[in-house]
C-alpha cells in the first residue's frame, strides 16, 4: 500500500529520468557507425569483426561514462523522497498511526527506489544492446550485462545518500543538497588525498574500469564496499527515524 | 414520545429524562402499557450517550414508573399497584420538604406556597 503511494509520488520524475538515461548515451554509442554520404548522415550496418568491436567498445564507454554521471544524478533526484519528505506536509501523524513499524515505511520507500533504479539501468542497457545488435549483429555483450548490477549499486549509493539526507534534514529539497554536498566533499577529499599523500579512496571508476577495459581483475572488494555503503544508508535512516518525535 | 434534554443546564441528563417521563405519565400523555423507545433509539435521536438513557430507564424501573419485558422493550407501568399509600407518601415527603424550605427561605407565606402547589396540580389535570 505504501509502495503505491511512493510510486505515485515519484512516477513523473521516474519517467523523466528514464528518458534521459536512455536517450543520452545513444549518440555516443552510435558514433562509429555514422557515415556521411551524398544523401546526408546514415548509419552503417556491418557485421565485420572490426566494426563490431568498435561499436561494442563505444557502447561500453558510453554506458559507463555517461552512466556514471547520469545514474548519479538520477539516483540523487529520485532519492530525495520517502518518509523524510513527509515531515513538512505533516502527513506522518497519519502514516505512523497505521499498524506498521516505522522501519516498514523506511524500507518500502527504499525498495521502490531500488526497483526504479533497476528499471533505469536495465532499460538503458537493453536499448544500447539492441542498437549494437541491430547494426552489427554483435551479441558477445556480456560486459554490458555485467555493467548493469555495477551501475545499479552506484545509483543506489547516490539514492541512499539523498534518502538518508532527506530523513536527516526532514525535507526532500535539503536531502538533495545533502547528497550533492556529500558527493562534492568526497570528490575533493579524494583528490587531495591522492595528490598529497598518494592515498586512493574507493571510487566508482575503479569498479567500472576492469569491466569496460578488460584485462584487469574484477574489483570484488570495491563492489562489496559500495554495496555495503548503499545498504548502510537506509539502515542509518531507519535508526534515526525510529527515534524521532513526530 | 418526544423528549428534550438540555446538556448545558448543569442538571444530569438522566435526571432530565426521568423527570420528563414522570411528568408525561402524571399528565396522562403516557398511559399504562405504552411503549417507550429503546435505549439505542432514544440515545441516537437525542444524540446522547446510551448509558445515560439506560441509567434513566433503570431508575424509572426502580421507581416503578416503567417495567421492562424480558425480550427487550420498556413499557409504562400500571399505576404502581404494588405500592402502599404510606410508601407513596414517604417518597413524596422529601420533595414537600424542599418546597417548604425554599418557600420559607424566599419568605413566602404558607398560603402562597400551598396556592403554588395547587396551581401546578391543576395544570396536570389533577389526575391520579
Amino acid at each position: 500500500m505504501y509502495a503505491w503511494k511512493c510510486w505515485r509520488d515519484s512516477r513523473l520524475r521516474f519517467v523523466a529520468y528514464l528518458t534521459l538515461v536512455v536517450a543520452l548515451p545513444i549518440n555516443p554509442t552510435l558514433s562509429p557507425a555514422f557515415r556521411l554520404t551524398d544523401k546526408g548522415w546514415t548509419l552503417l550496418r556491418d557485421s565485420s569483426p572490426v566494426f563490431t568491436n568498435a561499436l561494442v567498445e563505444s557502447a561500453l564507454h558510453a554506458f559507463a561514462g555517461f552512466g556514471l554521471v547520469l545514474f548519479a544524478l538520477a539516483g540523487i533526484a529520485m532519492g530525495a523522497s520517502g518518509v523524510g519528505d513527509e515531515y513538512k506536509p505533516g502527513s506522518l501523524e497519519y502514516l505512523l498511526t497505521r499498524p506498521r513499524q516505522r522501519r516498514h515505511f523506511v524500507w518500502v520507500g527504499w525498495l521502490v527506489g531500488v526497483i526504479e533504479m533497476l528499471a533505469m539501468t536495465s532499460v538503458s542497457a537493453a536499448v544500447i544492446f539492441s542498437l549494437v545488435f541491430y547494426l552489427s549483429r554483435g551479441t558477445a555483450l556480456w560486459r554490458l550485462v555485467a555493467l548493469v548490477p555495477l551501475m545499479l549499486v552506484m545509483a543506489l549509493v547516490f539514492f541512499g545518500l539523498a534518502y538518508l539526507g532527506t530523513v536527516i534534514t526532514r525535507e526532500g529539497k535539503n536531502g538533495l543538497a545533502f547528497a550533492v554536498l556529500a558527493t562534492l566533499a568526497y570528490l575533493i577529499v579524494s583528490f587531495l588525498l591522492q595528490r598529497e599523500w598518494g592515498i586512493e579512496l574507493p571510487s566508482f571508476i575503479g569498479l567500472l574500469r576492469p569491466v569496460v577495459d578488460g584485462g584487469k581483475p574484477f574489483a570484488f572488494g570495491l563492489l562489496a564496499f559500495w554495496t555495503a555503503f548503499a545498504l548502510a544508508c537506509p539502515l542509518a535512516a531507519q535508526w534515526i527515524f525510529e527515534r524521532r518525535d513526530i | 414520545m418526544i423528549l428534550h434534554v438540555n446538556p448545558s443546564s448543569g442538571l444530569p441528563l438522566y435526571l432530565q429524562i426521568e423527570a420528563q417521563v414522570k411528568q408525561a405519565v402524571a399528565a396522562a400523555a403516557l398511559k399504562a402499557d405504552d411503549a417507550l423507545p429503546s435505549v439505542r433509539k432514544l440515545a441516537a435521536d437525542l444524540r446522547i450517550n446510551p448509558n445515560t438513557v439506560a441509567r434513566a430507564y433503570q431508575n424509572l424501573e426502580r421507581d416503578g414508573v416503567i417495567r421492562t419485558v424480558p425480550g427487550g422493550g420498556c413499557y409504562v407501568a400500571d399505576g404502581m399497584p404494588g405500592l402502599l399509600k404510606t410508601e407513596k407518601v414517604r417518597r413524596l415527603r422529601p420533595h414537600a420538604q424542599q418546597i417548604a424550605v425554599e418557600g420559607m427561605q424566599l419568605r413566602l407565606a404558607p398560603e402562597e406556597i400551598l396556592k403554588l402547589v395547587e396551581e401546578e396540580l391543576a395544570k396536570l389535570g389533577g389526575k391520579s
Binding site: Y94, T97 | S8, G10, L11
Partner: protein, 311 residues
C-alpha cells in the same frame, strides 16, 4: 488494569524547557466516552501523540488496551483508530483513493459500510484531498477512522471546521455505531456542548497536569455556584472551594462538592443564601482553568481537584 482502555502513570514529556505533559495520571475506562478538555497548549495533543507512539515520553508509562505503548505499539494501532489535529493526508489522492490506501492496512475493513458512511457524511469522493475545504477534510479523516471499526477511537478535534448540522450527524453516527459493546471513545474538543451531550467521563488538563477526572454526572451533581448576600461575608478557606469573589454585599462562591454544607457555614456567619445553582461544563471548565484574581487571602484560583475529592 484490563478494565481501562487507556491508562498513564506519571507520564512526562518535555520539549526544550517546556513540560508539555507533567506527571499525567489518566484513567479511561473501557466503554467510556471520555471528553479530554484543556486550553490550547495544555498538553492534550502531546498526550494523544504519546499514547500512539508518535512521541517518546521522557518518564512514566502509558498503557493502551492493556498493552504498554513502548512494547506493543503495532498491536495497539491495529485496534485503535486516530484522527489527528492537523487533518493532513495526501493532497494528491482523492478520498476514494485514500480509502483504498487506508484499507490495505486493515484486513477486516468493510467496503459497503464505508460507502454508506461516506454518503451520510456527504463527502466528495472524487476531488483531490488538497482541494477540499477544512470541513470536508475533517469528514474524510473521520471516515477513515470510523470505517476501521476499532475498539478504541482517539479523536483530536473531530468536529473542527464542521457546521452544526454535520456536527449533529457525526454525534449521531458516533452514538449509533461506536458507543457500546465495549468500544471506547477518547476525544478532545473545544466544543463543550458536544462533550455534555455524549460524554460520560471528563478529564480536564492544564499545564500538562490533570485538574479533574470524573464522571460528567458527578461533576453536575457536585459542582455548585453559591450566591450569598451579607454585610460581612466571611473569608472561608476550604479544599473544595474553587473560587470566591466578593463585590459590596454580594459574594460568589464556586465549590467542587458539598455545596449545601458550604452554604450552611456561610449562613452560620450571618450571610443569606440567594441561590445555589448547578454549573454547565463550560462554567466548570472556566472556573478550574482560568486564574481569577482572589479577592481575599485564604482563597485560591484553581485548586487541583481529583475524582477522589469529588466523591
Amino acid at each position: 488494569m484490563s478494565d481501562l482502555a487507556i491508562s498513564t502513570q506519571g507520564l512526562v514529556k518535555v520539549y526544550s524547557k517546556l513540560r508539555a505533559v507533567d506527571g499525567l495520571d489518566l484513567s479511561v475506562p473501557r466503554g467510556a466516552v471520555y471528553g479530554f478538555l484543556g486550553r490550547n497548549g495544555a498538553g492534550k495533543t502531546t498526550t494523544m501523540k504519546a499514547l500512539l507512539g508518535l512521541v517518546h515520553s521522557d518518564a512514566g508509562s502509558a498503557t493502551v488496551l492493556g498493552m504498554d505503548v513502548r512494547q506493543h505499539l503495532t498491536a495497539i494501532l491495529k485496534r485503535t483508530a486516530f484522527v489527528s489535529e492537523n487533518k493532513i493526508l495526501y493532497d494528491g489522492f482523492t478520498p476514494a483513493e485514500l480509502v483504498r490506501f487506508n484499507c490495505g492496512f486493515y484486513p477486516r475493513w468493510q467496503v459497503d459500510a464505508v460507502e454508506k458512511l461516506a454518503r451520510r457524511l456527504d463527502i466528495p469522493m472524487r476531488q483531490k484531498y488538497g482541494k477540499l475545504s477544512k470541513g470536508n477534510r475533517t469528514k474524510v479523516c473521520l471516515l477513515l477512522a470510523l470505517a476501521q471499526n476499532a475498539e478504541l477511537l482517539i479523536l483530536d478535534e473531530p468536529t473542527s471546521g464542521l457546521d452544526p448540522v454535520m456536527i449533529d450527524e457525526v454525534l449521531r453516527i458516533l452514538v449509533e455505531d461506536h458507543v457500546g459493546a465495549g468500544r471506547t471513545v477518547f476525544f478532545s474538543t473545544h466544543q463543550l456542548a458536544e462533550v455534555e451531550q455524549v460524554a460520560d467521563w471528563v478529564g480536564i488538563i492544564d499545564h500538562g497536569k490533570l485538574l479533574v477526572e470524573a464522571r460528567l454526572d458527578d461533576l453536575r451533581d457536585q459542582f455548585r455556584l453559591i450566591l450569598a448576600a451579607g454585610d460581612s461575608l466571611p473569608a472561608l478557606g476550604a479544599p473544595n472551594l474553587i473560587s470566591a469573589t466578593r463585590a459590596g454585599r454580594t459574594g460568589r462562591y464556586v465549590v467542587s462538592r458539598d455545596g449545601e454544607e458550604f452554604a450552611a457555614r456561610l449562613r452560620q456567619h450571618g450571610a443569606q443564601i440567594v441561590e445555589i445553582a448547578p454549573l454547565s461544563l463550560r462554567e466548570v471548565f472556566l472556573e478550574l482553568v482560568r486564574k481569577e484574581e482572589a479577592c481575599t487571602p485564604g482563597n485560591a484560583g484553581a485548586i487541583p481537584v481529583s475524582a477522589s475529592s469529588l466523591t
